[in-house]
């Protein structure tokens, strides 16, 4: 049975394959047009639509648009449109096709009603997005993309294993909540959680993010920042709301990346750590699982996609014009890139949660939810994390790129289309911060949350401005760690260095043992041969001439022995 609803994202996925036949300039515009058409169709599709397809005896719920999928669908479309405007200068058909398929797959995934459909889109996002990394066309990007692909596809394999086990156990492939209220998790739910966790960059499973995003092309990173991890947030919010474990995983996620971000030199990598930290807030919200917390998570994902794209776009513009985003090589760019500087500052303010900007009205919902549930430690951790966000994204990114010591570089301002894309994102950051009721009306649950109370505004400003004051004090006291050219080890060291070293070490040990056995055996053999040679040599016992007397003696002994045997 096939209904008349078109699967969201399909226009972008199928339309992408027309792009190679267009002129190089039209390809870039094509992605934008496809995204816009797709958004239009998506907005016209009414809520609570389903499209069921029978396949191999299973009924696939290919389309399910409810309040949760709708808001993610909308923000994914917006991200695709903004990124497409930002990428208008790109003349590389690979990137355009990859970006369109990738965005379409993410949109399709958040509207998937069953796990098989989700799996197909899940893997499609992985396979399409890796081309945005490979498009950098260098050895580092190639290797990093390979690692990214292995990890992403691995996540899909775990997902499929979990789904198969679940199907065998329950006969259902519906994408619904996997954890019963207060119940224990079974093995299939654990596998699915692990699959989601990899894509959501859970602690210790996170490093593909910091490894790959900074290696992608200028525009590729902007696309990447929007979809993969937020798809995982959506999947977690759908499958595991109220799972207490997620609160603590989320807390760890908010904390450790900020410490790495302090010492990281590559500013796009700083943003990747910052992305990781922001995902932590969302995971905490999913773990708390109350209506306010889930609303906060969804709202935060919405706002986050925009301001994170804005920050990645501003650093992308710097990379595009200067050729590097190493903090050690930048500084003073505000003089020749004032627009980019301004947009970056708005993004930095939004992520830090300044009042009137988008982060303020979304992150606070999650922190309030922790307060409502009287989770004191969680609440404190989220406050520390908020101060940490101020450190890396609020201060470090804009300060070291655009102010700080003058690097003497005077790059041109970002191209017009990049400024337009950044401008739209910046306006959205402000619009969401002021016109928050519009966003709240899209959230999965009814919301009567009011972010602009005197208490909230004052305490938030206290936190942020005193954090800024701390930065000034540390700078004046020369206690702020200087930017250094370096590589900082993270968990990717385990598979980039430890495993190869272990394998190499294992080979050395085996080689050594093998040599020892071989040499020992050869020595034994040589000694035996030498003995034999000795024995049969002219002076050896068996080789030398024996006298007649000796021979007679031994012949007599032999005869005597035979005689004894005979009589026994």
């Amino acid at each position: 049975m096939i209904d008349s609803v078109l699967p969201p994202g399909l226009i972008m996925i199928l339309g992408a394959w027309v792009l190679p036949f267009l002129s190089r300039k039209a390809q870039a515009i094509g992605v934008l047009v496809l995204s816009a058409i797709s958004l239009g169709v998506f907005l016209l599709t009414p809520t609570d639509q389903h499209l069921n397809i029978g396949l191999f005896g299973l009924t696939l719920d290919v389309v399910r648009i409810d309040s949760l999928s709708r808001i993610f669908g909308i923000i994914f479309h917006l991200a695709a449109i903004i990124s497409a405007i930002y990428a208008l200068h790109v003349r590389d058909v690979r990137q355009h096709v990859a970006a369109s398929v990738y965005a379409g797959a993410a949109i399709g995934a958040c509207c998937a009603g069953d796990m098989i459909t989700l799996f197909v889109y899940w893997e499609l996002t992985a396979i399409s997005s890796v081309f945005l990394i490979w498009a950098s066309d260098n050895e580092r990007a190639y290797r990093s993309g390979m690692r990214y692909l292995i990890i992403q596809v691995g996540s899909g394999v775990l997902l499929l294993s979990g789904v198969i086990l679940r199907y065998v156990g329950t006969g259902s492939i519906d994408f619904v909540r996997f954890t019963p209220e207060g119940g224990a998790m079974n093995i299939s739910a654990m596998l699915i959680l692990l699959a989601f966790g990899i894509k959501c960059a859970f602690p210790l499973l996170h490093n593909w993010l910091q490894d790959s995003y900074p290696e992608a092309t200028v525009t590729g990173t902007v696309f990447l920042s929007g979809f993969t991890t937020k798809l995982a947030v959506y999947a977690l919010a759908r499958g595991f709301p109220g799972t207490e474990l997620l609160i603590w995983i989320g807390c760890a996620m908010t904390l450790f990346p900020i410490i790495f971000a302090v010492i990281e030199n590559d500013l796009r990598r700083v943003l990747a750590y910052s992305l990781n930290n922001q995902l932590g807030f969302m995971v905490v919200g999913i773990g708390i699982g109350t209506e306010l917390a889930i609303n906060g998570t969804v709202a935060h994902a919405f706002c986050h996609i925009i301001y994170k794209a804005l920050l990645f776009m501003s650093m992308g513009a710097v990379l595009y014009r200067v050729g590097t985003v190493k903090a050690t090589e930048l500084g003073g760019l505000h003089k020749s890139m004032p627009w980019t500087t301004g947009f970056c500052l708005i993004g930095a303010g939004a992520i830090s949660g300044f009042p009137l900007l988008s982060g303020f009205i979304s992150k606070s919902m999650i922190i309030s939810a922790a307060g409502e549930e009287h989770l004191f430690v969680v609440w404190l951790i989220l406050l520390v994390a908020s101060a940490g966000v101020m450190e890396h994204s609020g201060i470090k990114i804009p300060f070291f790129a655009f102010f700080s010591h003058d690097s003497g570089k005077r790059p041109k301002e970002a191209p017009m289309h990049m400024r337009v894309a950044m401008g739209i994102a910046a306006i959205l950051c402000i619009a969401l911060g002021i016109g928050y009721p519009l966003l709240y009306s899209l959230l999965p649950y009814e919301s009567d949350y009011h972010p602009y109370t005197i208490t909230h505004v004052v305490t938030q400003l206290q936190l942020l401005l005193f954090a800024t004051l701390a930065f000034v004090v540390l700078m004046k006291a020369h206690l702020y760690p200087a930017e250094q050219r370096s590589t900082n080890l993270d968990t990717d060291w385990v598979y980039r260095r430890a495993f190869p070293m272990l394998i190499h070490g294992g080979a050395v040990v085996i080689g050594w043992a093998d040599g020892l056995v071989r040499r020992g055996f050869l020595a034994l053999l040589n000694r035996f041969l030498a003995g034999v040679e000795d024995m049969f040599s002219e002076r050896g016992m068996l080789g030398r001439p024996w006298s007649t007397g000796v021979m007679t003696f031994w012949a007599t002994i032999l005869l005597a022995f035979c005689l004894v045997l005979y009589y026994l």
Binding site: R140, I258, I259, F260, A261, V262, I263, Y320, R321, V322, G323, G332, H334, K335, G371, E372, H374, F376, W379, L383, V384, A387, G388, M390, E391, F403, D406, G408, K409, R410, P411, K412, T453, I454, T455, V458, T459, Q460, L461, Q462, L463, L465, F466, A467, L469, A470, F471, V472, L474, L479, Y480, P481, Q484, S486, T487, N488, L489, D490, R496, R497
Partner: protein, 91 residues
């Protein structure tokens, strides 16, 4: 890539943000804002506190300061452990 190397004869121009008196102005402004925000704690009351700590005087102010310093300090410690040369993985 549009890499623009600085022209050798170009004088490093100073912008508004680089003049010491303006930097001092910004810092004084920040300090004043901080002071006002702490004093603001005297004039309003949190109608819906969740924890006792929340209502103590200037809590988020000192907490923000301490948390920031703590994060930077931990970062400095972490650098001692994880820092390697830039081409570490390329060798």
């Amino acid at each position: 890539m549009n890499i623009e190397e600085p022209k050798p004869d170009a004088q490093p121009s100073t912008s508004w943000f680089e003049r010491p008196e303006n930097v001092r102005l910004l810092i004084i402004g920040l300090c004043a804002a901080c002071l006002l925000l702490v004093l603001a704690d005297l004039v309003y009351e949190n109608p819906h506190p969740h924890f006792a700590l929340e209502t103590t005087f200037g809590f988020q102010a000192w907490f923000g300061f301490v948390a920031f310093v703590g994060v930077v300090f931990l970062g400095t410690l972490l650098r001692m452990i994880v820092r390697r040369d830039e081409d570490y993985y390329d060798r």
